[in-house]
Amino acid sequence: MDTILVMLIVGIAAAFIARKLYRTIVSARSDKAGCSSCGCGESVERDPLSL
């Protein structure tokens, strides 16, 4: 049970990172992308990179 729960959490984290990576690459091709993925707080605009 312990192991299944741990694997589930690790799987979700890995999927999250993969999604973030994919969106970052996609954003390079999009003229709508903006700041919010980097998390610096410089902009509040919403864009497809928002997590």
């Binding site: 192991t3 984290a13 999250f16 390079a28 993925s37």
Partner: protein, 728 residues
């Protein structure tokens, strides 16, 4: 502070008290435009309640930003904050954004119902040039006479009803940073939407009007309103190039050429014609509505600038201020950091005592608490650094810093405007790169994009602070500044100097081009608005926490798994610490680390640093969280110890001496000064450098040269230090 008198008005009715309900429930679209640094973004934030970044220098807004508020009649009012422009000549990419939106030809077809022009009451002459152009666009206009309090305090008397009469549009005095005049402004916006569009308020000389008539007709025939045609005809004389909204206009080039010839024949200079007629009109307007005090004693700003901009004292003041900024990060943040460390430690122990021994407890305590916790402790540093930098920005000092840097910028071949993107790069390279949109010349812009990531961003701060806190003693260097603060200052200066050097190299090779002069506006010194300052600091802290709770949390979990599996077959009887060490050595992370080790060994790093550097290619702070996770997994018995203490206590298994020395720490910091380890920066470089294959090529060049510079510099520090007798 005297209360502000708000003489609200429109040309038809100088006192608006009630607003008729809007005929349609659809949102009223209002575009905000104005000269740079007139308080547009502060006004936008005050009206919408949003928290867009503001600063007391030009070029803070380089994109369109949208927000909304509900008017008194319940109707939604959508606001669009446009980049600052001195005119509609559309010289730079951000001015083009503004022009295309105002004429309703941008890609999203955001056609404004009302244009809100924010003008600086202190510099009315210059601001009315743009306002005069906007008035002729054929869209209802409202003028916000912002910083009215500053004008009053300087003895400038503005007759607002007379100004309304002269301009033919509603004019509302405002003090955006204190929220004064906002209700009147909202009323004026709602009313203006129902008024007819204003028109040009002056007549051209007869001969000039005849010379321009065919061009005006041509623009009119191609679909522009009569009023906008007149404005475009004047604008095209000075900038005779076809903007995107004029593409496809039949006979336009011929009509422009003919108008220019006719004007020359009539005795006018076409490229100066618009400025001459508009400034003649502005002089008339100012003469009738503004009374200025006699110039006497120099102002407070003048007296401060006598020192802040002095040839010798200016740079001294600048360096002294920077030293104080970085020292404050250590001096003021340490007690707060200790508190957060204790809270995380207690929380970790509490959760550890609730969960039964096993992988789940290890994941939570050694992975999440050790990884995310090691980054979270740097929250006070982030808050303090950006509070102090915010004070410098909001007070107007940063414009002086830009002035001081302009001489250096020109020497390396960069445009003075590059300073603002580089300054933004201290917070984060992504908005810094986006801020290059204010630079007109594509080569200057690209050279700036290529070097902005060398400015030490806030993500490097946890790395510097961890290593300086662990390996640099807090001995006093000069009164008020110790070696830790000085080391931090040197790291920031190193990135800045490297950025200037690399830019000089680009400007003399791949991006060769002339050096252009910069016109810089020095705003008066102001007391920073506590509210704006608090908003920006809270926002940065919030985003830092959000990053810790998303990307860093996810990476800590994955790295914990890589450090924990597969389970090694360890013989019983060994001490717990040795068992944990063997498990880590045999894990996937350990194997990856040992694979990387030959690459980082010449820099004096072991496999743990190597794997942490590799993990931090996603984001720089991940270096700290990865080290936290590795030490959490490797030795749970020292879980309460701060990461910096664990780094100092780490022993080299071969020599028995310290695994990490001050020399290794300095080399590592230098590596992080130069290395581009940020996915978001790479993505934004691709896009801003032109996208597609060209964008990817520039991004690859940027990543490659920065990595090479980082590696070689760290190696020189390590080997050079050893040659000088420092322990390696």
């Amino acid at each position: 502070m005297s209360s502000l008198q708000i003489p609200v008005g429109s040309p038809a009715d100088s006192k608006v008290s009630t607003i008729a309900p809007a005929p349609s429930a659809a949102a009223l679209k209002v575009a905000i435009i104005g000269n740079p640094n007139t308080g547009k973004t502060t006004l936008f934030n005050a009206l919408t309640g949003l928290r867009q970044r503001v600063g007391n220098f030009a070029g803070v807004t380089v994109e369109r930003v949208e927000g909304a508020f509900r008017g008194e009649d319940g109707r939604m009012i959508a606001l669009l904050d446009l980049p600052g422009s001195y005119s509609l000549s559309a010289g730079s990419p951000d001015e083009q954004i503004a022009l295309q939106t105002l004429v309703g030809r941008d890609r999203s077809h955001w056609n404004p119902d009302v244009i809100l022009v924010v003008v600086d009451a202190v510099h009315l002459e210059r601001n009315l040039f743009l306002a005069g152009q906007v008035i002729e666009l054929g869209v209802p206009v409202v003028i916000a006479l912002n910083q009215f309090d500053v004008a009053e305090s300087e003895g400038i008397r503005i007759d607002v009803p007379e100004l309304i009469h002269e301009l033919g549009v509603p004019v509302v005095p405002t003090v955006a940073k204190r929220g004064q005049g906002l209700d009147a402004l909202k009323s004026a916006i709602a009313t203006a939407a129902q008024l007819p569009a204003p028109e040009r308020r002056f007549a051209l000389p007869e001969k000039a009007a005849q010379a321009l008539a065919p061009l005006v007709d041509c623009l009119n025939r191609n679909g522009l309103s009569a009023s906008a045609s007149g404005m475009e005809a004047l604008r095209l004389l000075g900038t005779p190039k076809t903007e995107p909204h004029l593409v496809g206009f039949k006979g336009l080039n011929e009509a422009v050429a003919h108008a220019i010839d006719s004007l020359i024949e009539a005795g006018y200079r076409p490229n100066r014609f618009e400025s001459e007629v508009r400034y003649a009109w502005i002089a008339q307007v100012i003469g009738r509505s503004v009374v200025r005090p006699h110039v006497g004693e120099p102002s407070v700003s003048d007296r401060i600038d006598a020192i802040a901009l002095h040839r010798v004292w200016g740079p001294v003041v600048f360096l002294a201020l920077m030293a104080v900024v970085f020292q404050s990060v250590f001096t003021w943040a340490t007690p707060l950091m200790d508190v957060i460390e204790s809270i995380i430690s207690v929380a970790g122990r509490l959760v550890g005592s609730i969960l039964p021994a096993g992988d789940l407890r290890s994941l939570v305590v050694d992975g999440i608490f050790a990884g995310v916790g090691s980054v979270l402790v740097f929250l006070p540093q982030i808050a303090i650094l950006f509070t102090v930098i915010g004070i410098l920005e909001h007070s107007g000092y940063m414009s002086r810093a830009a002035f001081l840097m302009d001489r250096v910028m020109r020497r390396v071949g960069l445009h003075g405007k590059s300073f603002i993107p580089m300054l933004s790069g201290y917070a984060c390279a992504v908005p810094g790169i986006m801020a290059t949109r204010t630079i007109e010349d594509p080569k200057d812009r690209l050279a700036t994009i290529m070097v902005v990531p060398l400015m030490s961003c806030s993500a490097r701060l946890p790395v510097y602070t961890l290593l300086i806190g662990a390996f640099v003693p807090a001995v006093a260097v000069i009164p008020g500044v110790n070696l830790q603060g000085l080391t931090m200052l040197i790291m920031y200066l190193l990135g800045t100097v490297a950025a200037l050097g690399i830019a000089a190299l680009f400007k003399r090779t791949l991006l060769k081009g002339p050096v252009r002069p910069m016109i810089l506006e020095l705003p008066p010194y102001r007391w920073p608005s506590i509210q704006s300052l608090a908003v920006s600091v809270v926002q940065r802290c919030r985003m830092f926490l959000r990053r810790a709770g998303t990307v860093i949390l996810a990476l800590s979990i994955v790295l914990w798994a890589l450090a924990t599996y597969p389970k090694a077959d360890i013989p019983g009887g060994a001490p717990d610490a040795r068992q944990a060490e063997l498990q880590l050595e045999n894990s996937i992370l350990g194997k990856i680390g040992h694979g990387i080790e030959p690459l980082v060994r010449p820099l004096g790093y072991d496999w743990k640093i190597g794997v942490s550097i590799a993990a931090s290619f996603a984001a720089r702070e991940v270096f700290v969280s990865t080290m936290g996770t590795i030490y959490g997994v490797a030795d749970a018995s020292v879980g309460d110890q701060a990461l910096r203490e664990q780094l100092v206590a780490e022993r080299n298994p071969v020599t028995g001496g310290p695994a990490y020395t001050p020399l290794v720490a300095v080399g590592l910091m230098v590596f992080y000064v130069f290395a581009l380890m940020c996915m978001s920066t790479i993505a934004v470089t691709v896009r801003e450098a032109g996208g597609g294959r060209i964008g990817w090529s520039w991004a690859a060049l940027q990543f490659g040269y920065m990595l090479a510079l980082a590696y070689v510099s760290a190696w020189i520090v390590y080997e050079g230090g050893k040659a000088l007798g420092f322990p390696g």
